[in-house]
């Protein structure tokens, strides 16, 4: 792997890979994660090299546990890191905040997703947590910074005994740029836990809070002097303050517009470098603040300007998007407006005008050919119809909310499908049917199921047991060692069944039975992720069966509602594309007379 090659002075790395490199150059010894795009490649990269470098790595069952483990290893003096997507921080927050009080030194990487490229829940900004939790926070703009800031994060964590947050965004995670390599510091196998008298009394907590506030004042001095907070002065009364990838758009726009402006690059946004910003804005007439997603830096600048330079004209979210990803043209537009560069504005608007009224049709994602989820959704719709309340959750199966299935009336957050369905079952006479993936079930579905049993909710839970965390790229989960059916027994679920989702008859019968019973019922819908399976087969050089349509018939039109991408209709004829068929055989059960295995 390029990332750990000794003979390379530099390489093109993804932001996520650069984080890993930075951790290796800091002596990383302990790393945990729960997968979540755009952060997934951090854990996936470490998993590939951990053994070789003697680093302890695990995919944990959820982010809270992952963070707790990193905190525990931090107590023992190991260089430890935990990575997750932004929602993971919501899950882990309860443990994170006290770990700040308890002075565990470790590094947290949380990846925000402005534009929600791979997120459906909210478009949140993790930097609010910096303030809630007193977390020193770094915001890289590109891969080189991602590496350097990771090293700085480990330095701060150790020096001040505090968890440090690296706030990534999709664009930084998923961009490649040059990273220069320094030496990898060998990992340590074992640390040592020094007993410390942390009694959990209320006065102790208040004292620790007091101590923390003092510590933050000290770290603030680091923020004032770090090379990651710097400015490029120019003879101009216009200034631009930016953080993250937006900084690059600012440089690009200034170059294109050929304007003079001073630039302040914020790399460490908490504690805020108040003095340096004061110096920067003192003599300016106008300033533009460019950041994704929320106006966090902007609010700080406004506050400081009231004292230092009340007549300063401040632009920010009034000229730039308040939601979605910020694009280079947004920054160009804002700076063109401020600098009254009419021609650029006209050009940009002209370009936009060209596209107005044109409906750009974009290809949408679908289940893979042979996906077990498709078979499950199809069978359940066939048996229960469309009127039932269908709860959704997070995973590949959220595609079940799209046509032709449209079988998720709500998707909230990981594990929430069960809890929300339970509330609906109590508030109505409905028996909601909720789809939850296996990884999601282990992550946060289990406590909700226990509540369901305890209070006798009337819900049919479908656990989509595809043996993997598919949506985020195929990571393992606790199902490797824990059987879901054993959990059913242990949790007191009386009515549950296991089915092979590729068996239409078996699954139909079990659904009928489970749905007709009042109370908690569970279907463990087994079917291995087809992508995973096909990859395995391909690696082993095994050829899987293909299916073909041997007899045309108008009734094959029903396959439209099944929507396997391999089954197509061309010039009025139905056919199966052999390059696409992944041989699950489900379509053949639907039309045994028309579809046959290809010999």
């Amino acid at each position: 792997m390029e990332l750990i090659r000794k003979d390379l002075p530099k390489a093109l790395l993804l932001g996520n890979e650069a984080i890993v490199r930075g951790a290796l150059e800091s002596g990383l010894s302990f790393a945990t994660t729960y997968p979540g795009t755009p952060a997934s490649e951090i854990g996936d990269t470490i998993s590939k090299i951990a053994q070789e470098l003697g680093i302890y790595f695990e995919y944990s069952s959820n982010e809270k546990v992952a963070l707790e483990a990193a905190g525990g290893a931090g107590f023992c003096g190991l260089k430890s890191l935990v990575a997750m997507k932004h929602y993971g921080l919501n899950v882990a927050l309860d443990s994170l905040l006290p770990l700040v009080y308890l002075e565990s030194p470790f590094v947290i990487v949380a990846a925000d997703d402005p534009g929600c490229f791979s997120s459906v829940q909210t478009e949140q900004d993790s930097r609010w947590f910096s303030k809630i939790g007193f977390l020193p926070t770094l915001e890289p703009a590109d891969s080189a910074e991602a590496k350097e800031m990771t090293k700085f994060a480990f330095f701060l964590a150790e020096k001040y005994k505090i968890p440090v947050l690296i706030r990534m965004t999709t664009r930084v995670c998923h961009s490649r740029s040059t990273v220069k390599f320094s030496k990898i510091i060998p990992s340590r196998k074992k640390g040592k836990f020094l007993k410390f008298p942390y009694q959990a009394t209320a006065t102790d907590t208040v004292n620790r809070h007091k101590k923390l506030l003092k510590k933050i004042e000290k770290i603030k001095k680091e923020s004032e002097k770090t090379k990651f907070n710097y400015f490029l002065k120019n003879k101009s009364n216009l200034g631009v303050i930016s953080s993250g990838v937006c900084f690059l758009y600012v440089k690009e726009a200034i170059k294109e517009l050929k304007i003079k402006a001073s630039i302040f690059k914020i790399g460490m946004s908490f504690p805020f470098p108040e003095k340096r910003i004061s110096q920067f804005i003192k003599n300016l007439d106008q300033v533009l603040i460019v950041e994704e997603v929320e106006p966090i830096i902007e609010n700080e600048v406004e506050r400081i300007a009231k004292r230092i330079n009340p007549s300063l004209k401040i632009y920010g979210k009034n000229l730039l998007p308040k939601y979605g990803e910020i694009k280079p043209e947004d920054v160009l537009f804002a700076l063109a407006k401020i600098s009254k560069n009419i021609q650029t504005i006209i050009n940009l608007e002209e370009q936009q005008r060209l596209l107005r009224g044109i409906k750009i049709e974009k290809r949408f994602p679908t289940f893979c050919p042979g996906c077990p989820h498709r078979a499950t959704f199809f069978t359940i719709k066939k048996v229960l119809g469309e009127k039932v309340v269908f709860g959704g959750d997070i995973g590949c199966y959220l595609l079940g909310s799209l046509p032709p299935f449209k079988m998720s009336d709500f998707i909230v957050a990981m594990g929430a499908g069960i809890g929300v369905s339970y509330g609906i079952s109590k508030a109505t006479d409905e028996k909601p049917v909720i789809f939850i993936g296996d990884s999601t079930f282990f992550h946060a579905g289990l406590p909700a199921l226990i509540n369901l049993v305890w209070h006798d909710g009337n819900v049919l839970v479908i656990i989509l047991d595809n043996k993997i965390t598919a949506m985020t790229g195929g990571q393992p989960h606790p199902g490797e060692v824990i059987k879901i059916e054993d959990l059913m027994k242990a949790c007191g679920v009386k009515s549950y069944e296991i089915t092979n989702v590729y068996n239409l008859k078996e699954t139909s019968e079990k659904i009928k039975k489970l749905y007709s019973q009042k109370g908690v019922s569970v279907l463990i819908a087994q079917g291995e992720c087809r992508l995973l399976k096909i990859r395995k087969l391909a690696r082993q050089g095994v050829v899987w069966p293909r299916f073909e349509i041997i007899k045309q018939s108008p009734k094959l039109e029903e396959l439209k509602n099944f929507s396997c991408p391999a089954i197509r209709k061309k010039k009025g004829k139905y056919l199966i594309d052999e390059n696409l068929c992944w041989g699950c055989g489900f379509c053949q059960q639907l039309f045994p007379e028309n579809i046959k295995i290809k010999l």
């Binding site: 690059l248 043209e329 160009l332 936009q352 992508l531």
Partner: protein, 198 residues
């Protein structure tokens, strides 16, 4: 390429076509040739079948990884249907669209006619180049999995990419699994040859 110029490339296609591999090959080749390189990709929500969009910018000094609206010098589209979703980056004055002439319809039961798309792409771009991939690859192999390297060869043959062949070959050797390398190189060469003749 002129000294101060940054080359702006957008690559589109759908999951499973090797869009990201193609972007990585070009990025690594540009890097090996000594350019500063920024590359970025948008994944959709799913593993397969969704739209993929990669941006690649290289030159002496490059900041943003994203190509700006109307900023593409070249758009490579691995499916004609997806060329349509790169419109945001097209500029009548400079953008060349190099695209697969085939359409894999996102609607399995509905065919989409190229006639709806081609005239429009012609109108808004400086130049539209269609690569008849099916016909070309069909002579060598039944698989459609090497459209990415075929079009890459074509782009090189037509001198649309300011990158030397030797760097591309080196990057291909690094990125493509050994058992597929020879076939890919053959298809790549075919792309170059055809482009020179067309």
């Amino acid at each position: 390429m002129k000294k101060n110029k940054t080359f702006n490339l957008v690559i589109v296609g759908y999951g499973g076509q090797g869009v990201i591999t193609l972007a990585e090959i070009i990025a690594n080749a540009a890097f090996a040739q000594g350019y500063e390189v920024k590359q970025t990709e948008n994944h959709g929500l799913s593993q397969r079948g969704g739209l993929l969009e990669c941006h690649l910018r290289f030159g002496q000094e490059v900041f943003s990884p994203l190509v700006k609206r109307g900023g593409a010098d070249l758009i490579i589209s691995l499916d004609l249907f997806d060329a349509f979703s790169s419109l945001n980056y097209v500029n009548k004055k400079k953008t060349i669209i190099l695209t697969n002439s085939e359409i894999f319809s996102p609607y399995p039961f509905k065919e989409i006619s190229p006639k709806k798309i081609i005239p429009f792409l012609k109108k808004i771009s400086k130049k539209l180049i269609l690569v008849p991939t099916l016909k070309l690859i069909g002579n060598i192999s039944k698989e459609t999995s090497m459209i990415n390297t075929l079009i890459l060869g074509y782009a090189l043959g037509k001198k649309l990419l300011p990158i030397k062949k030797k760097f591309i070959l080196k990057a291909m050797t690094e990125k493509i699994r050994p058992q597929f390398l020879e076939k890919n190189k053959k298809i790549f060469d075919l792309g170059i040859q055809v482009a020179k003749k067309h």
